[in-house]
């Protein structure tokens, strides 16, 4: 590392020590904005989790022609299992279907109809990467091409509706997130600008003795980055403690993606870096 960079890092830390109050204000600002962004990220993560759970429960129920023999059914089972995206096909015989009805209605189907009209079926589970409405429809179309299939049931409308709304939800969240990130950087930048303004004498002297723009800005950028990371660490600690409490009090309510901690640290670093760069620019004009 060159002497200049080392000097800038040392000066950056000294600057933090010299301006403890303004540095604390900066760190607190970053901490608050990161909390807002983290709440948004956790909300998105949990909505996605619920949607994924609904999608993963989605099954296709394939009804088999009544005239099909056991041999033909076994062959059909193999054909279904070979279709791309099918994770498993569970066979439900006519008898099992009748038992299910009996369980649901509380009455034996033979007592009402003297025969079992319920067809045998396959309950098909899909691989997680095939949960979208479009991919499910493709599997549906491929199943229809097979011989011996009478009918297929699945909640296409629910899947399509879910996808449509999650799409709108994500767009809104991205807009809010972008506005929040932009607002955060402006806020952080203005706070750092106040810090820099309070030390304009040192900048003026730096200019007079021939400091280059990068030499002048580096200690402030180091300060900004340190403040940003400190804000990120505080926000991470805040959520870590909060999640511990929530987990203890209401288990299973909110799930936390552990990636939130490195994300908060990175965002803190980014806000500190961009904020200080934006703040110092005004003071660098020769």
């Amino acid at each position: 590392m060159s002497r200049g960079y080392l000097y800038s890092i040392v000066e950056g830390f000294k600057g933090l020590k010299r301006a403890k109050f303004s540095a604390s204000v900066s760190i607190f600002t970053i901490f608050l904005t990161l909390i807002l962004i983290a709440v948004l990220l956790i909300f998105i993560f949990n909505v996605n989790r619920v949607v994924s759970q609904i999608q993963s429960r989605m099954e296709l129920e394939v009804f088999i022609d009544n005239s099909f023999t056991q041999e033909q059914i076994d062959s059909l089972n193999q054909q279904i299992s070979r279709i791309e995206g099918v994770e498993s096909a569970h066979f439900v015989s006519k008898e099992e279907a009748a038992a299910i009805i009996e369980k649901q209605l509380g009455q034996d189907v033979f007592e009402i109809l003297d025969e079992n009209p319920l067809p045998a079926s396959f309950q098909i589970k899909l691989k997680s990467s095939f949960h979208s409405a479009q991919k499910t429809q493709t599997i549906f179309d491929n199943l229809l091409k097979l011989d011996g299939i009478d009918d297929i049931l699945y909640r296409h409308d629910l899947l399509a509706l879910l996808e449509k709304y999650i799409h709108i939800f994500l767009i809104i969240m991205i807009i809010i997130g972008t506005l929040l990130a932009f607002g955060s950087i402006v806020l952080v930048s203005n706070t750092i600008k106040l810090v820099i303004f309070s030390r304009r004498t040192i900048i003026e002297i730096m200019k007079l003795v021939g400091a280059t723009k990068s030499f002048i800005s580096r200690p402030f950028v180091v300060e900004g980055i340190v403040q940003g990371i400190a804000g990120g660490v505080l926000a991470s600690l805040f959520f870590y403690c909060l999640f511990k409490i929530i987990k203890l009090e209401i288990p299973g309510l909110i799930l936390i993606d552990q990636r939130i901690y490195p994300i908060l640290l990175f965002l803190g670093f980014l806000f500190g870096f961009v904020g200080s760069m934006a703040a110092i620019r005004k003071f660098l004009k020769y």
């Binding site: 004498t201 002297i205 007079l208 003795v209 021939g210 723009k213 020769y286």
Partner: protein, 215 residues
């Protein structure tokens, strides 16, 4: 070495300069004399390229304002020493650190910084006060720190903007003597002052300025 030729310049909050002409040769000691608001500080600002002319040009060492790129300004300023009436010292650092600051800016080696600062401290007579903060020093001593900082990069010229304006007569005399001593080693000096008494009886070049015009 320094030439200001027919410069017209305006700057925020000032009347501006009107066809200013001035030269300072190598090793020369010149006074820029004029009343307050005459444009003395603006002339110095032209030299260290803090303001630029609307017409005319400045030549400092080998750099000419007409084709100077902004990124060259810091390197130009390293060849100039500048001192002010209000000293412009860093109050949170001691005397040694204030002088060393000008060398850190040039990425100088740590060992060289120590050697050069100690040399300059001896030159300005403040070796024994190297660990003091500016607020623990008298006005004259503070100005000597500022002179030390200005000298440490071995400038071709020392620009002094009312450098004795805040000092008592005794300290003023000390500073003038120090500047004379510095000039004797070959460093040119251009000292802006409103004080006619300061230049009286001195066999030095005097450039008079009034209402933004050199006379």
């Amino acid at each position: 070495m320094i030439q200001i030729s027919n410069v017209v310049a305006k700057y925020p909050g000032g009347e501006g300069l009107d066809h200013v002409n001035l030269t300072v040769g190598p090793g020369e000691f010149a006074y820029l004399v004029g009343p307050s608001g005459a444009g003395k500080s603006s002339v110095l600002k032209l030299i260290y390229m803090d303001i630029f002319p609307l017409s005319g040009f400045m030549k400092v060492d080998n750099l000419i304002s007409l084709n100077l790129k902004k990124r060259q300004i810091p390197y130009l300023r390293r060849r100039l020493g500048i001192i002010f009436q209000d000293f412009k010292l860093l109050t949170d650092r001691n005397v040694f650190e204030n002088i060393a600051f000008a060398l850190h800016v040039t990425n100088a080696h740590r060992r060289n910084i120590k050697r050069k600062v100690l040399r300059v401290l001896a030159d300005v007579g403040l070796s024994h006060k190297r660990n003091k903060r500016p607020n623990q020093l008298s006005g004259g001593e503070q100005q000597r720190v500022a002179i030390g900082r200005a000298l440490v990069n071995e400038p071709i010229i020392l620009l002094a903007d009312e450098a004795t304006g805040n000092l008592d007569p005794e300290s003023e005399e000390e500073i003038i003597q120090l500047l004379e001593k510095i000039n004797a080693t070959g460093t040119a000096i251009l000292m802006a002052t409103h004080d006619n008494k300061l230049v009286r009886g001195k066999n030095r070049k005097i450039i008079r300025i009034k209402d933004g015009r050199t006379l």
